[in-house]
């Protein structure tokens, strides 16, 4: 929605983004470099199609149209005409073909691994870009069309080693140009020749580098920045109360924070135990006490609510009714042959107690607090939980290699615009690895051929109704089998001030994932926001 109202606000204003980057800026504007793409992909380099993370709404961007072949193995893009690079050179299909083949040659740059499924990218005689696939991979559209930046061939072809190329003077098609970069700040200036005429309406965007949350939060709270993507503790006092009229926030859920079971070891290979634990967790309490109420409680379907509400099979979920229910949990455990010992902790026939260790990250203070609440919950049921708060490297080492009993945390890959992306990475055995080796997903080593098939079918269809149906079947497995327990939902932190600027994304108008670190959604937000007169 490229927002072409009649009464256009004037162009102008300097918007300051407030987002803890944890490091000084490297003045490198290479959209294929995972450590710096956050400062270029979107506002400088654009994708073919903008695919809204929150609702899978697709908007043609550098492509003016696209079609899937009937077998879902060929994807054809019509390239928008009249687009110019910021150095004045015309943008063409050749740039698109070049960009894709560049990341094919240099797989280090293929951040989304699109060449895992792509077979070729070529320009056909009519000037369209044709992509062929090794297998049908409809969901990969998000990565290919929505997450891959297009770079100018006339500049990038001169780079000897694009992998280690530092791009100091970026040339893109985006709405802004980079006008100044220092370690502590990047300034973006309006691109007057942007292909969406009249946009953007902001003259300047400054993006300071914040090393730590606290100074960033203080900056936001004192009104020196207008757009935040920050975790702010006690936000109502800290932020909103300083200007209740204008200081607002919205935290749309974007992923699940789970308890991962190591399903290869007893008793977590026992469904009854998994279910019992799922009934022993007071998700509301975790959300309120551990997450300040910012992160809503999760639900056992694994589908984010409200983000993907349309995908949720409510009836099925209600049947199980996973909520804090010690009686039910006790019943399940007793059925499975556990008895309560003198210490109040359940134990199996051999006298082995239900006593586990859960790992989480010491630096994530909210997680640590959440685990404390979970410990408390389980104790009421009769399950002992010990927390091991690890430094993040140690934590991920254990998580990825399956070296844990229980783990608290979220998937470490990017979410996507439908529940498919997260659920597949959580459950598909193709993403996992044997214990001791690094898994890309499915850290719990859950193996279920039925669920694998469902995801594979999803990948082969462009039919939305069929996709919904497939996800509902996955939800059934989530509810019955409890391979993981979604406890709370991770959100996109987003604060904004309406004092000087308007046009912000809101729950009512979720035109883009709203955090400054949502790529390339931040571009879309910056195209909508304007200075109030």
């Amino acid at each position: 929605s490229s927002n072409n109202n009649g009464n256009q606000p004037a162009i102008g204003g300097t918007l300051t983004i407030d987002n803890e980057s944890g490091a000084l800026w490297q003045c490198d504007f290479n959209p294929y470099n995972g450590s710096v793409n956050g400062q270029s992909f979107g506002v400088l380099y654009e994708p073919l199609v903008y695919d809204n993370l929150l609702n899978d709404k697709k908007t043609n961007w550098l492509a003016s149209d696209y079609t899937w072949s009937s077998d879902s193995k060929t994807l054809t893009f019509t390239i928008r005409s009249g687009v110019k690079w910021t150095d004045g050179q015309p943008f063409s299909a050749d740039d698109v073909v070049f960009s894709f083949n560049l990341i094919k040659q240099h797989s280090e740059l293929d951040l989304q691994s699109v060449w895992q499924v792509l077979d070729s990218v070529t320009k056909d005689s009519s000037g369209k870009v044709v992509m062929t696939f090794k297998q049908s991979a409809v969901p990969n559209f998000y990565q290919i069309a929505g997450q891959t930046a297009i770079v100018p061939q006339h500049i990038w072809s001169a780079f000897k080693d694009p992998v280690s190329q530092v791009v100091k003077d970026p040339v893109g098609t985006g709405p802004f140009t980079m006008s100044q970069c220092t370690g502590q700040n990047i300034t973006f200036t309006r691109n007057p020749n942007y292909w969406q005429t009249g946009l953007p309406r902001l003259q300047t965007v400054t993006y300071p580098a914040f090393l730590d949350n606290d100074p960033a939060n203080a900056f936001l709270a004192t009104g020196q920045a207008q757009w935040g993507g920050q975790f702010i503790p006690n936000i109502d006092t800290y932020y909103v109360a300083r200007d209740p009229q204008n200081n607002k926030y919205w935290f749309p859920p974007i992923n699940n924070i789970n308890i991962w079971f190591n399903t290869t070891i007893a008793p977590f290979n026992n469904k009854a135990v998994r279910q019992a634990i799922a009934y022993s967790i007071d998700r509301d309490s975790v959300s309120k006490k551990g997450e300040y109420g910012y992160e809503p409680p999760g639900n056992q379907t694994g589908v984010l609510s409200p983000t993907f509400d349309s995908w949720i099979d409510k009836a099925q979920a209600d049947k199980y009714g996973y909520k804090f229910d010690p009686t039910k949990a006790a019943a399940l455990l007793q059925q499975a042959g556990y008895t309560k010992g003198s210490s109040g902790i359940y134990q199996d026939a051999s006298g082995k107690k239900l006593s586990f260790t859960i790992i989480d990250i010491a630096g994530y203070t909210d997680w640590v607090a959440s685990v404390q609440v979970i410990q408390d919950n389980l104790k009421q049921v009769g399950i002992e939980l010990k927390a091991q708060n690890l430094e993040s490297n140690a934590y991920f080492d254990k998580l990825f290699t399956g070296n844990f009993q229980l783990a608290y945390g979220s998937l470490d890959t990017s979410p996507g615009p439908t529940p498919y992306y997260e659920l597949r990475n959580t459950l598909h055995s193709g993403t996992t690895a044997p214990i001791g080796q690094t898994a890309a997903g499915d850290y719990g080593r859950y193996k279920n051929p039925a669920v694998d098939t469902l995801f594979d079918q999803f990948g082969a269809t462009t039919d939305s109704a069929k996709q919904h149906d497939l996800i509902k079947q996955v939800e059934a497995i989530m509810l019955e089998d409890v391979p993981v327990i979604p406890v709370t939902e991770g959100v996109a932190w987003y604060q904004y001030s309406t004092k000087d600027f308007a046009g912000w994304p809101t729950p009512a108008d979720p035109y883009a994932a709203p955090a400054p670190w949502n790529l390339p959604d931040w571009e879309v937000t910056l195209l909508h926001v304007y200075k109030k007169s």
């Binding site: 949350n213 800290y238 203070t365 404390q372 708060n389």
Partner: protein, 308 residues
């Protein structure tokens, strides 16, 4: 981080020994007669008592998430509650344990290493001295915090033990250097030579002739090391290197900071542990200052002044 400045001028003190009470008695009476020392000792004693009796005197379980988060100070919660609904006052009392323990244990260990290295360097002399002295200087010059961050980060799950180890590794060299220069000036004192000529073994000479003469310097070094430990531990815990689940003032600060306590309406959560650290640090600093005066009578306060 405490600033400590090194000088090679460690004067050979005149260990004052009073009538029948021996070294310990002398130190005690010297302390009692010094106002700064008295203040420091009082604070230290108070914290020690709090640490010992924390379970008895703290009103609530410091870990329990049993209250409303971010309560202001009230009769029930003298300092309010944390972001997770724990009683700050109770946490403060319990934290005294780890903070004090850390200071004392790390202080003692650093002092022991300092004594061993410093005294051996001076006593063995020659190449040994050269090498040990070089090692000491290297440890002195290498910026400690980066080193600490590196070590502590990798060993964060080790808890207090690792923290102590890190502090000891980075904190012994200062004292070693002072002890060496004092031991050097002692080395040629005639009573040591007398002991050697008498036929004493080297170990006896070091333990019973050299060390007792350095008591007040050793005490001063311990105090300095303890001060360093207090501040270093607080710094490390503040940036989250340490067991964040353990209760100590530095960790409290870490949590308070993570919860934006200063700006989010519970400044006491930041102020209280900070003040405790400062108080404990100041206690060690004052005692240290006083020991300087005890060790070096020239530094004692003068009663009257005349010439300008």
């Amino acid at each position: 981080m405490a600033i400590r400045i090194l000088t090679d001028q460690a004067p050979v003190q005149t260990p004052m020994v009073s009538k029948r009470s021996g070294i310990a008695g002398t130190l005690a009476s010297a302390l009692l007669s010094n106002r700064k020392a008295l203040a420091g000792a009082a604070v230290l004693a108070a914290f020690t008592l709090i640490a010992i009796f924390a379970p008895v005197i703290s009103p609530y379980d410091p870990h329990a998430l049993q209250f409303e988060p971010i309560l202001g100070p009230s009769r029930a919660h003298l300092l309010g509650t944390t972001g997770n609904g724990q009683d700050i006052f109770s946490q403060l009392m319990w934290s005294t344990r780890e903070s004090l323990l850390l200071a004392v244990v790390a202080g003692i260990m650093a002092t022991v290493i300092a004594v061993v290295v410093g005294v051996s360097a001076a006593y063995l002399g020659g190449l040994w001295d050269h090498v040990l002295n070089l090692v000491t200087d290297v440890f002195l010059v290498i910026p400690t915090l980066p080193l600490m961050i590196v070590v502590a980060a990798y060993a964060a799950s080790g808890g207090v033990a690792v923290l102590i180890a890190v502090i000891v590794i980075t904190g012994w060299s200062y004292g070693a250097r002072q002890l060496r220069s004092q031991a050097l000036s002692l080395r040629n004192r005639e009573f040591l030579e007398a002991a050697r000529v008498r036929g004493e073994r080297s170990l006896y000479i070091i333990l019973f002739e050299v060390l007792p003469n350095m008591t007040s310097l050793i005490v001063a070094i311990f105090l300095g090391a303890a001060l360093y430990a207090v501040l270093a531990a607080a710094g490390l815990q503040f940036i989250g290197l340490g067991d964040t689940n353990a209760l100590s003032w530095g960790t409290m600060l870490y949590w308070a900071q993570a919860n934006g306590a200063l700006l989010a309406g519970s400044p006491l959560w930041v102020l209280a542990p900070g003040i405790c650290i400062a108080l404990l640090g100041a206690a060690f600093a004052l005692l240290n200052y006083a020991f300087d005066e005890i060790a070096n009578p020239a530094l004692r306060p003068v009663r009257r002044k005349r010439w300008s």
